[in-house]
Symmetry: C2
Subunit: 423 residues, 2 copies
């Protein structure tokens, strides 16, 4: 390790320790204190729009040098309206219920003690993200409301924007008696610094990478700290023999076309053989009207010469585009097998009016959200009633599915006695 | 990698895949099916006592070759009474409530869908343990009751005992329509095999190491799969200025001496300066009566020339023996700072009749169990009402504290609609 690297890793360790210490502030604050600070932050973001936009312009000027695509530049770009909407999102978080401190299930045990569980902050969260500067505010605000500190490592493309936004967080924290270090932006975007952060298991409790699959796989392979993983979304709609066909068409079109570029969009359609004659002609017509390319099994192809032949890769694909893979299956069990083989544990939908079949599907399918007669697009923190979302977990430890404030907390046991000792 | 190693890693991967597939059995079984299988297993263990003891004898005969201490040989040894008690523990698990399938908080959202969470098995658990053969039964039974498959890697010292016990699990599973592979004992105890297991993130959802700190640190550093960590227990009793002194003495003696060799035993005593004159003479006398060696700060030493001087290492120590570190602190905050610096997030006790102080302690102290006027020895799954315990987590992700059946499950979102689509 060079002297400069050694210097940098020591600075990062110091930063993480300071964040851990500063995190006691939000951990012990009352809900009212946290909410006042958040509302103040929202006001500051609006008042400092000009300074934030000037910083953002520096990033936009540098964007061609990073070879950013037009879509990436759009994600990077802030304007007064976007800042207003970021500030409004902060005010919205201030209205959400505070999970911290709630004691549940407090009850006496046979041995005489009372035992319950108290919800507490996780401690320090490390957020690793790419080019969207709004994440700097969104993630910090959720972490703070749940009583945590946060270490943020954004992408180099948004370096100046992130610093301008983080400065406002620091001002708001200090104005309300918190240490600014409770939200610490990593001052460098180099890879070695990120790798070092991922070893700080004494200081950091949870790592949340937000970005492409490559980033997430890298972080989860490298980290000694638990990582919330969100891989791809290969979401299926299974149209059962007992489906309401109007509903099935509506769920198909909504899931595939309402916003095809997101992880809870449909990528595959499974159709029970008994209903294929009645359903597939309507489904294929509706998909064609929306300009969706269909890649199907031979039985699907029999319904239209527009249907291309699906390969095994198609059933694995997360298209994020107006393309869908279609397969006719002989039974509920065949549909389930297909989902187990090709699904990604993200969102799985059944369309059926048969209660026994839908109950089985709810129980049997291993996905972060299992939906009956509802669009896959509902698997989203806001739609599911969490009020917010810091990410979606497709692995089962700690959190599974969209993560709201409660997922940024844990529970400890509390025991109340009156001098009780153990025999 | 040698040909033999390549063969072995492939065999382990195949085993893990078979376990994952077989785990669908317990995942989808009814509570009654699982309980019948467990009661049958208990009967088989008793009926096959002779065969199990013969296998155990082979391990006992080999023990000197492994250089096992007398205490380790005792942990390894089975007899008819111990087998009866293992079987009774299995019957006890059959009586526990089944966490799987419960749907909580099902409620309508503004968008019209109903959203709830369903409790589901984690999938496949990998248990890595040392010389106690009873873990082979205990862990398998808890995993199965919670609907999971389990891969078990026991220590070489208990190789034959573990195989004899696992054989009975296999028979019970098959007799009740489950695949024996749902409980898979790793057929080798070499290190390379364990390392390979810890890379199988597609097949295994959670790793639980049970043993010394060295094993746990090795597993958590090596594994790509989430690991439940249980490091040491440096548990404090803080005797506040408003303590009931009779209670304080009772909590001290019970916490330190009732079973000094376990992780929830007390290792340190903190005494508020205002009450030191009244409390410490009584405390030191009671500790002396029980033969406990005291290592204290200078203010503690002033009360008795039997008190040795405590070093910084003493405040960090997990003695697991009749030794205690004692310190007089000037305030509640000083006690809290000491616990934050030296504690291990395991079990922390306050003795106080002051409601404001105890409420603050409950909220401020970061430990898997925080106890008010109750012995640290209550931090145990059985005592806390979990009915069982597969381990204690001292890290906050997924589980914090003793882990019962619920900690071997997770929750997925369930969404019920009637053709609902997203705007």
């Amino acid at each position: 390790m060079s002297t400069q690297q050694a210097f940098q890793t020591e600075a990062l360790t110091t930063m993480a320790r300071a964040c851990r210490k500063a995190a006691r502030g939000p951990a012990r604050a009352t809900t009212a204190q946290k909410n006042r600070m958040l509302r103040d932050l929202a006001d500051r973001l609006e008042a400092e729009t000009e300074a934030i936009l000037a910083a953002n312009q520096r990033d936009l000027d540098a964007a061609p040098g990073y070879g950013l695509s037009a879509a990436m530049v759009d994600r990077l770009r802030l304007d007064a309206k976007r800042i207003k909407s970021i500030a409004d999102a902060v005010r919205q978080v201030a209205t959400l219920p505070d999970p911290v401190g709630a004691i549940s299930d407090l009850r006496p045990q046979a041995n005489g003690i009372q035992v319950g569980k108290m919800r507490i902050p996780l401690g320090v969260i490390c957020m690793i993200y790419e080019s969207r500067p709004n994440v700097t505010i969104d993630a910090a605000v959720l972490a703070l409301k749940a009583g945590n500190g946060i270490i943020q490592r954004g992408g180099k493309e948004a370096f100046h924007s992130n610093h301008a936004l983080a400065a406002q967080i620091g001002h708001a924290l200090e104005a309300h008696g918190f240490e600014a270090a409770a939200v610490s932006l990593v001052p460098t975007t180099d890879r070695a610094a990120m790798n070092h952060l991922l070893t700080l298991e004494e200081e950091i409790d949870l790592v949340i990478p937000r970005g492409g699959e490559g980033l997430i796989r890298f972080v989860s392979r490298t980290s000694r700290i638990p990582v919330i993983k969100h891989y791809k979304g290969v979401c299926h709609l299974y149209v059962d023999a007992d489906a309401d066909l109007d509903q099935a068409v509506a769920l198909l079109i909504n899931g595939k076309t309402q916003r095809p570029g997101v992880c809870n969009a449909l990528e595959s359609l499974l159709v029970h053989a008994d209903i294929a004659d009645a359903f597939l002609p309507r489904a294929l017509e509706a998909l064609a009207e929306k300009g969706v390319e269909v890649r199907g099994c031979p039985r699907t192809q029999a319904f239209s010469d527009q249907v291309l032949a699906a390969t095994d890769d198609d059933y694995h694909a997360e298209y994020l585009d107006l393309i869908i893979a279609v397969k006719v299956v002989d039974s509920y069990d065949a549909a389930l097998d297909h989902i187990e083989t090709y699904g990604s544990n993200h969102s799985e939908v059944i369309c059926s009016q048969n209660r026994r079949t839908t109950e089985r599907f709810l129980r049997d399918v291993d996905a972060s959200a299992v939906l009956v007669n509802a669009s896959s697009r509902f698997n989203d923190g806001g739609q599911l009633g969490l009020g917010c979302e810091i990410g979606i977990s497709t692995t089962k430890l700690h959190a599974y599915g969209p993560m709201g404030l409660v997922s940024l907390t844990t529970e400890k046991f509390v025991v109340l006695g009156d001098g009780h000792t153990r025999d």
